[in-house]
Structures are given as structure tokens and as C-alpha cells.
Symmetry: D2
């Protein structure tokens, strides 16, 4: 594993535990963790249960005793590491977003395709697909229970930078983060919308907004309290979007509306998505992770209503491994399920999903959103995966 | 009152009952109801409690014993009746939307302004402003409790035409209805968004979609069952939007996302709006009419949370007249409150709100939405009330 | 109508409006309102739309131009007025509780029975039976959709006397109010539990508690602020229950748990009831008046869940008269529905429900609750309607 | 660890992971798992990450390389194992209920007290105390935010035996399970009610009911399908309660109502508890594990309301170790938190809670409930921990 921040912590928990709950065809071994600072990575390796550690990802990839590389670094290094790892014959799991640019994503998807032909597989970490409630939603839609899909409404609402004095961290700088709420949050909504409906987004019209355009430089307050008190806080420009709003068309005729924002005061991680079709609707809110709301329009209207399905039954996706009905599972097990499916796919030689091509697809939508926003919200076609 | 359909029924209930609950400065008398069919209007007058009836609105307006004209007809006749009534020296209450075109609305606003100078007043029926929970939301925002307003998210979700065999009624024909979900539902959201934030919408980017483009002509099934059985149902083109999706900018910097749709399967009248600011958020859903959800970001994060305010306390707007705390009021009393405020304004000589100018403002936004949708969703400025 | 407090206001609204929405076989006329103070009753008659007024209920009953007497006074006068009205050949609608004692209730039920044989009918005002969601619940249970009923859980939660400085009003004095939360709130729960299940309660075990045993006498603060400031507030003993908790058995084997309290801080009028059976459950909360929650256990567990039925469809009980789906109705229309059913029953000569015998049945349960609480919560059989 | 069923699986997950998230003073080592079948226990040890295994708990306890014994067996063996383990100088964690009888519990509490004086500690596994939302509730109450506690309402609703053809498993047999819903579910509610309020329950009045008195013997259907088809299914008597309903008094004057049932159709694990005091209320539902509902009655009534606190902030109990705000944790981490606190207590030499004395206290309430139910629900005092 490369990287041991939030995602490294979540992924290592999943690698450690997947085989404790699922009867996997092969048992993961946490061979080595990679990070730049030797003291920090050594401590993290100990905490997270890795047998060893490296400070150079190229050395990691060169090791013979490693079959799978899990990339948990920020997006700007994904392409380089993933390409090298695939080249070195490793299976690769790469956190989302696949890359910071369409070009990198395209290159990665192509490399993944070539590697797959050699039996080396790759997957991108859109973990929300493995929320049992969303996997159930996908089943219901795939089974035709919603009929013709007409509309998608997706919101990803957070509020951690509402305070204008929150500092200008790297995530608010375009050169490091690529984009703001759009790539960080909107990417999840885009992947899910396409996954749930089984339809690609073909065009978008977007509005990106930076609601607080200048912020204190990191350390501005702590370092210079006298200056801060006097109001002389040094500030820098926010170069990413605080909120990304867009409408979309899907390939089979559905339309959708998307909002990704870090300014939805009071919402901590409200990743919500609803799909409406001719025969029903399903709705999900990540702040109620174990629930799916389902409306079946084929019932008598007098007894129809949105149904709160508590997705904890043994017959629900992934749930047989866990606890009795009504006992909730947490966010972290989206990753446990991801590892389970990845390991099973590797063992059986099938291609895991979402693929790098799926990651590219989301990247193409993100690019179209940015492009539309840059030209007065004009409707913009999403590029094709296969270049002309 | 002119017209006695859904709105006429609701308005007459309000006129009959306002003085039973509020101590009004003058008691409304339901003098005459106007409709085209004498037998039908006579029956409706009896049912709704009008002393008499007319079949010609010009005769109604000409009557000396009438001070106020309440227009509850479809939008295409609003302008003509309202202009004549104001000309005849009546006070006018006009259902929303103010008119079917910006030009008519502009003419009406100008006439209302001139009449106001002569002491004759007018109001447009955006009844949702008088939902106590929304009036409370306006108070909280006006009091600064939300700080700087950053975002609006508005949904108006219905589902009554999801079935593709639902017939081509007049509301689905542009020449009669003007627009579809946009004008019927979106108009409410637009007025509320501007009312709650105290900011006008300055530009929009929109996508309008007709999801079921052809429908059976009315009577196609009932009239010709043999033909229908054989699949020879005569169909016509739907010429209005089934769903209207748009993003918006507000004059003081906020951004918003709007969805108005009749294809949100399972939602019957989910008029939802949420406003997020630097210090808090308020959220409302018309399917929970007596509740306001409020997040106060100035509290310690450990005890902060969205608060379900049951808006039934005597200190809440309009509530002192009703029942003890916890006893809900219904949708119809948005009109009772409207009549109360209207009668009080007339008695005191102050100008009632929302004014025809407010109605025009919404019309200008609707027009900008339609215009943007017609030119590839390009961002389109909302026209000014005062013509150049 | 006798009495014009909270219930008089609600009932008069219903009498005035029932025929505006329902096509009733006869149109109610509000002939006279009766109260002790001539100036106050005259004003109330004017406000509520009564043609005249009386200050002596015996004179009211003696009038020839009155067919129906609606008793909205406190419980201690119900028996006397109702017995006289029935004797005088009037139909009688009597607010709940039917009486303050079992003896009075028994006498009233007997008189109602005799009057019914002469074609004069009576009804007791358990208005919650006419909440459309609860009428729907009754339908579902009667149709067998819940299978064998196993359990009832009922809560009636208010909080208006949580403040220990709230004064000792008449409702907190046993000689006037009979009991506290038990009779005021618990009576509704008891009637509903029996109505919904179709089963009588046969025995109870109860705990009654007065949580704040002494309170300021009314006016203690306002009258003597100096004394109040000095802490010399005169207090009296609370002689009714603040909270009534009991368990129950039903005649066909179900068991139930009941809580009626005015000390449920934060709950304003949470009259909640849930019935669970072998095939499903229904749950209701009066703070969400237009909703019924329904779980259908015959469905696949993977798609089963509590369904929020928005009870506003034209096919729902009472709803065809009101607004389009999704537009809520208020608490007051429980009375409108009551009047509708009462008028229809009188016109057709059928016996309206709930009858005085139903009122007696609730009184018998209340008495058993009080008796059990008085003897160490020992299980106590509910008395029989027909005396030995 | 002794036992590897549901609780063994949950506890081992907690032991494995606690030190991955919390910086514990000592790192747990999973030395040996104990079970009767060598092949099964060996497989479970492998799956759950134990270094070894035993088939005889006395051998386990005799091992020198073991400091802590975690008892996850059914309740009838708790006393014997715990007493021996304490005698052998081990620290002991024992699943709830502490024992099947008051006598055993009393003996265990005494042994725990003696062991504590020798520096060997014990804890009983009322894991719900470590739900962060409930730990927060305890903090709020302990800080006085609810003022004087007046009422507790507790429900533990499950539905897994509603089907009358569900077989007569051991949990439905008194000789093995002790009691039914009462001990299995009600024990949690009792412990929590006492923990949250800080008050012991002093007396109860109870009704226990077996709603389906006979059930098919296990295997009756599968083994003899012909007989089953013919209706000759062999049945046995259910000897435990299906539902336990009781009212209670607390030592400082509060009253409470409790329901524990396996017949609440549609509810899977709805462990709900609400505490109301003079200044506010808190409410919790285990089906929304990461939320606490809090009403603060000291606020202006116009902006007061039940607040949904999403208990995922770093300042919330236990949460700093987990994920960013808004990312939910699962049921299993109630055990992780339990292990964290237990390990920290052992390292610091403080006594962990809940103690065996707390377990005994719950047992005394359970016994009083059973006793009251056996004598016509008569109010029954809860026995004292210290015998006369």
C-alpha cells in the first residue's frame, strides 16, 4: 500500500478484516506500507498491521513478494504509480479519482486494458458502490423494478469549510487538488449515477462557484497571533470550486441534477442520490448508511409509500457475513466489501469493477463539467473514452 | 371571485373562515362568484357560500357592491381581468403565476403601481409564503441567524403524469398552460427562494425536458375502447416540459439549484427548499407542512444538529389563531393567512405582498429559464423589471 | 352548541364547513350557542357563525328550532346536559370523555340506547378515529392485513406542565378534572387501541404518578410579585396524575403498553399508536397527522420496510373532498369528518359511532386503571358495560 | 476467549482492532480461543485471529500466558467460568446477562469485589453503554442538561419469532435461556435506563406474555416433510416470554415504562430509549446508531425542537479514533470501545464499568419483573445487592 492517510487507514482496516468475515479464496497479507518519512511510515505500518515498510514506492513495486499494489496517495501521483505497478506485473487498486486529468486517466485505462490481457487486473476505489443499500438499489434497477429511468437527483453535501477563516489547505488549491467539491465529492455522485442507472452521462451544463475567494494561509493565525489580532492575517486565493452545480443528460434519455458542495451548513457527509423511473424510485442518504428508501408505483396508491428498507438482512448484498438483522455496519466496510470483491475477482481471473475505464468515464464527465462552467454553463458533451 | 376550480375552492374556504379565527379590521363578504356556466356557477356559489353569481366577469367587475376581485382562473386570462378590475377601482388578488408572459406581467405590475397610488391594492397568490414554517424561516434569515446566505437548493417534486398513458390534458399543452412543471411548480420555488433569501435571482442556466413526448388524446381510451385495445390510441405531442432543472445566481452572491418535475415517482407535493448560510441552514418540505428544520452552526459541534421545529407554537407566525401546540394545520390555511394579511393591508392602506412586481420578478426568472434552455443551457441574465 | 372554548371553536369550524366539502343529506344550521356570560357568548356566536345564543342550556334544549345538541363543556356537566337533551328529543354529540365517572357514563349509555329506539341518536367525540390515517389503519386491520393482532404500544406525550412553576389550573385538580393525563390523553389512546384492534381491553396494571406535587396557585406570581420575588409563592397540591403508565390485555389475546403524560419534554401532541400483528404493523404519530407507517411482513424481507403512506390520496378515507394528493389537511378536520359522519348517520337513521356505549367502555378502562394504581398496580379486570 | 458464536465473533473483531485505532497502553494478543469441538474451534481461531485454541475452559484458565478471559458463552455457564477465572487470577470480561439467576450474579459480584482488591478486574458486557450517542446522552444528563429526570421510556423491539412456525429453539426454553425477551432484550434496556439516569430502579409492575405458546420442534419441518405436509408437525411448549412489559420507579422519583418484545413486526433491532427531564429530553434508536435526538427546553419555544445530533464529531465520545464527521460507524464498535476502556482500566488499575455489581443490579430488576408478573403484576420492590 502506498499512502497511509485517511484512505490508507480505511483500506488497511479492510485488508486486515475481509478474510475474517468472508471466506476468501486467498488470504491477504499486508506485506509493506510505503510513505516518505521512515519514522512515520514505520509507526503506521505497526499500527495498521503491515509486516514491513518502504519509503520509495519504486522499491515497493520492485519487490517480488508483492502481488497487489493499493494506491492511497493524493490524485496527482496516481497515474505514475499505477502505470509503473501495472508495468511491473502487479494487480492495482487505485483510490478515486483515478487521476487529476483526463489524459492521465486515459493512459491508465489503456494500461489497465493491456495488463488485463496479461492477467493483471485493476480497480478504482469508488467505494460507495459497495454500500449494501446502494448495491441493493442497483439490483432493483437492474431487475427492472423502476421501469424506465427518468431522473436522477444527486447531492453531496458537506460543510467543513463554511467558516471563512478556515485556512487555505492544499485541498483548496487547484495545482494540488485538481478541483474542489467537484472532484472530491461530485466524482462519487457521478460514478454512482452512472452505476445505478446503467447509463453514461452524455452532456452537462455546469456552474462552479468559489463562495469564499480568499482564506488565511495555513498557520496565519497560529503563527502570528499578534498580527491576527490586529487583522493583518495573510490570505491567499482559493483556486478551486466550493460548490459545483450541474444538470446532465444520460445516454438513454434520463436527466439529472447534481450538487456537490462543502458549504451545506449542517450536513457532514450527506451523499444523497435518488433515481426515479416509470415504476418506482429509490433514494439513499449516506448519513443513514444502512437504509434504502424505495417507492413501488405498481402498488395500489392507497397503500403505496416510500419504504424504509433496513439493509441488514442476510439476503442483502454483503450482509450475510455481518451481524443479525437490525445491527448496523459502518462506513469502513464499503472498503471491506471492495477488498472482498477485488480478491475474489483476482482469484477467479475475472475483471474487477469499477475498472480504470469506469474511472476514466467519471473523469470525462468531470472535465465536461469544468469546461461547461468555463464557457457560461453552455451544454457540453462528455468526451468519448476511445479517442477519435 | 372569478373561477371556482381547485383555487376557487381553496380561496373561498379562506375568505369564509379568515374572520372566524383572526380579528380582522373588516369582515369579508362573499358577494358573487363568476363562471361561464350558469348552472355550475350557481351550484358552486351555493356550496362555497357566495351570496350571488355572475357568468360574465365584466359584469362582476362593474358591480358597485364589490370592493375586491379575486382571480382564480387559469393564467391566460389573468392579465385581462386584473387590468380591468384595477381600472374599475377594485382591489385585486390574483392567483399565481401572475401571467403567462413577461409582457402581460409587466403591464399588470405597472397598472398595479398606478392603482396603488390611487389607494387600490393588489397581491399575487404565492401562498407558500404564508406557510408558518416558511414565514418563520424568513424571520430567521432576516434576523441574520443564517449569516451570509451561500446556497439555495429547491425541489418541487410531483409524480402525477409518470404513467405514459396519462392523457394529454390542457396542462400539457403550451398554448394553454404556458409551460409545464416550470411555471406550475418552479414558479413557487423561485418566488420562495427570492423571498427567503431577500435576494433576486440574476441569472440562470437551464435544462427543460419532456420525458414522455406523446400521450393519448383525452378520451382516447374511454371513447374507443376497441381501438384502444387494438393499440390504435390516438396520441398528440406534449408541448411543455415534464421536468425543469436549473442552476442560478443570486444578486448578493449566493448560488442555487432548482428542480421542478412531475416525474418524481412517489413524491406527491414535495415542495422542498433549503437555504444554507455561513451561520446555519433552514430546510422545509411541504409534505411535512408544520415543520421547519434548522441548523445553528454557532453551537458547539458536539450538540449541534438539525432541529425539527414543530411550527405550532402561539409565538409562531399566524399560529396564535389556531390550535394548541402540536395540533397541525392544513395546506388550506396558507390561503387563510393570505386573506388575513390582504384584508389587514387594505384596511391600513399599506401595500400587500407579494406585489404584482414580485409576480413580474418571478415571471422574468421563468422567462430566463426558458431562454437558457432554448440556447444550449447557456447562462442567461434575468431581465430587469424596469424596461430600458 | 353548549360551550365555546377550544372544543367549541373546533366543533363550530366543523359544523360551518362540513357541507362546503361534503355533499351532505342535510345542511347544518348553527342556530344557537350557549354559555354563561351573555356578552362573551354573544361575541363567540358572532365569531363562530351562530345565528343566536343562550345563557342557560336548559333554555337551549327547550327550543323547538334545534334538532342537535353538541356538548363542548368540561366533563363534569356532560351527563346532566346529555341526559336532558336526549330526554327532550334531541340528537346529541358529546365531547370526550363521556363523563367523569363510570356511573354517569353508564346512565348516559342507557339513555342513549333508549333514545336510539325512538330514533334520536348520540355520538361521543373521539375525533382521532376520523384522522384519515387512523381510519386507514382501521381498514387495513379489519381487512386482515395485520393477521392476528399481538401487541399495541400507545403513547400520548405532551409537555405543557413540565415547568414546576406552571400554576395549579383546574385541570390539575381532581374534583374538577376527574383525572390528569389519564383521562385527558389516555382516554384517546384507549379508545383508539380498542377501535383499531376491534378488541376490548379486559384488564390493566397501572402506575399513576404526580411528578410535581405542589404548584403555585393561579395568580400567585402575577398578583403578588413582591411576594413571588421573595419566594413566598402560595402553593397548592396537585391532585391528579402527571403521568399514567399501564399495561393491558385485550379480549382476543393481545397485550399492550400505554403511556399518557404531560411531562414528555419536547413533545407537544405526540399521540402515537402502533399495532403489531402476525402479518404486519401499522404506526401513527399525530405530529405527522397525514401519514401512516405500514410494514407488510408478507413481502420478501429484502424489500420489506416500514412504508410512509402519505394519506392524501382521493381513495383514502375522507380525502376525496379535500385537496390534491400531497396537500396536507389539519387537525381540525377530524371534527369536520365527525360532523359529516354524524349528519349522514342522522339522515339515514343508522347509529353513529363511537356511541355512548363506546364512551362507557373507555370510562370502564379508565376506572380500572385508577383502581389498579390504587392497589399496588395489581392487575385489575375492566368492568362490564352491563351491570350484574 | 470462551465461546465463538455471535458474541465471540463480535468480541474478537474488537480485540483485533482496538489497538489499530486507539493508542492503547498495552496491545491485546489473541492467545487462545476455547470451544467444545476441536475442529470447529480450530477453524474459528484461524478465522478470528487467535494464535491457538482449547477445548476445555479449565485448561484455558490454567494457562500462564493468559491474563484476560473473555466469556462469550450462553448465560448458564457464565458463573462457573467467571468464578474460576477470577480465582485463577485472571481479569474477566463477561457477556451479559451476568448470569441466569440472582444467586449466581450475587456470587459473581462478590468474587469480583474480592478479586478487585487483589488487582484483578472484571466487567460485564453491556456494550450499548459504548454506543457514542448513548455515551453522549449520559454526558448530557450527568452535566445537568436535562434537569430533574422525570421519565424513561424504553422499547426493545425485534420480530424474529413472529411467524408461529418458527421453531422451538433453545432461546425459547426457560431451562436453557432463563427468560425470553425479558433477559435477552430487556436486560439492555434496564442497564441503560439506570446508566443514563444515574438512578437505580427500585420497583416494578410487570406483565409477561407468551403470544405463541406452542411451536414446531426444531427439525420438525425439515426432517419429516411428509408429516409436515400432512399437518403432523410435532410441537412443544414455549416456556419463556415473547413480550415483557413493565412500569418502574427509580430511586430519585422518576418513573418509566419498558417493553421488550420479539413480536414487534417490522422492527429488527429497535433498541430505543428516551429520557425526559425538567430541562430537556434525549432519545435514541439503535436502528439509527450514530444519532442522538436532543430537545433543549431552555431555548425559546419558537426555535426549540428535537435536534438530530449526528454523533460523528471528533469531540464526541470515542469518535476521534474513527473517520471524518458524517461517516458512520457500525454496531461492532460498541465492542471495540468496550475493549479500549477495559484495557485502559486494566493498565491504570482503575475498576472498569459496568462492574459485576452493575450486572447484579440488572439481574435484581429482572428478578423483580418476573416476580411481579407471577403475582398479578403487583408492584414489587427490587432486591438489594447487599443481602440482609
Amino acid at each position: 500500500m502506498v499512502g497511509y492517510g485517511f484512505m490508507g487507514k480505511a483500506h488497511s482496516q479492510a485488508w486486515r478484516n475481509a478474510a475474517r468475515f468472508y471466506d476468501l479464496p486467498s488470504k491477504p497479507e499486508l506485506t509493506a506500507l510505503c510513505g516518505r518519512s521512515s519514522s512515520a511510515v514505520a509507526a503506521a505500518a505497526e499500527t495498521y498491521g503491515f509486516a514491513g515498510w518502504e519509503t520509495d514506492w519504486e522499491r515497493l513495486i520492485a519487490r517480488d513478494d508483492i502481488d497487489v499494489v493499493d494506491i492511497c496517495t493524493p490524485g496527482d501521483s496516481h497515474a505514475e504509480i499505477a502505470l509503473a505497478a501495472l508495468e511491473a506485473g502487479k494487480h492495482v487498486l487505485c483510490e478515486k479519482p483515478l487521476a487529476n486529468t483526463v489524459e492521465q486517466a486515459r493512459e491508465m485505462a489503456a494500461a489497465a486494458e493491456r495488463a488485463a490481457e496479461r492477467g493483471r487486473h485493476s480497480m478504482v476505489g469508488f467505494n460507495y458502490r459497495r454500500v449494501p443499500a446502494l448495491a441493493l438499489a442497483r439490483q432493483l434497477i437492474a431487475d427492472g423494478r423502476l421501469g424506465t429511468v427518468y431522473q436522477v437527483r444527486a447531492q453531496y453535501l458537506q460543510d467543513w469549510i463554511v467558516d471563512p477563516e478556515f485556512p487555505l489547505v492544499w485541498r483548496l488549491q487547484a495545482e494540488k487538488a485538481g478541483s474542489g467539491a467537484l472532484g472530491d465529492l461530485g466524482a462519487h455522485s457521478i460514478d454512482l449515477a452512472q452505476y445505478l442507472t446503467g447509463q453514461r452521462i452524455t452532456g452537462v451544463s455546469a456552474l462552479l462557484e468559489t463562495l469564499v475567494p480568499e482564506r488565511p494561509l495555513p498557520g496565519a493565525y497560529s503563527g502570528l497571533s499578534a498580527a491576527a489580532d490586529a487583522g493583518h492575517v495573510e490570505r491567499g486565493r482559493v483556486t478551486v470550486d466550493d460548490a459545483a452545480l450541474f444538470t446532465a443528460r444520460f445516454e438513454a434519455g434520463a436527466v439529472g441534477v447534481f450538487e456537490a458542495t462543502r458549504f451545506a451548513t449542517g450536513h457532514k457527509n450527506a451523499m444523497r442520490i435518488e433515481v426515479s423511473g416509470s415504476l418506482g424510485s429509490v433514494a439513499f442518504d449516506c448519513e443513514s448508511l444502512n437504509e434504502l428508501s424505495y417507492y413501488d408505483a405498481t402498488m395500489d396508491p392507497e397503500i403505496a409509500g416510500f419504504r424504509r428498507i433496513l439493509v441488514t438482512e442476510p439476503g442483502h448484498p454483503y450482509l450475510a457475513a455481518w451481524w443479525p438483522p437490525g445491527h448496523l455496519i459502518g462506513y469502513e466496510h464499503t472498503f471491506t466489501h471492495e477488498i472482498k470483491d477485488f480478491v475474489e475477482a483476482l482469484a477467479s481471473g475475472t475483471r474487477p469493477e469499477p475498472s480504470f475505464a469506469d474511472g476514466l468515464q467519471t473523469q470525462l464527465v468531470l472535465a465536461a463539467v469544468a469546461q461547461s462552467a468555463a464557457k457560461d454553463s453552455t451544454y457540453t458533451l462528455v468526451g468519448r473514452q476511445s479517442q477519435p
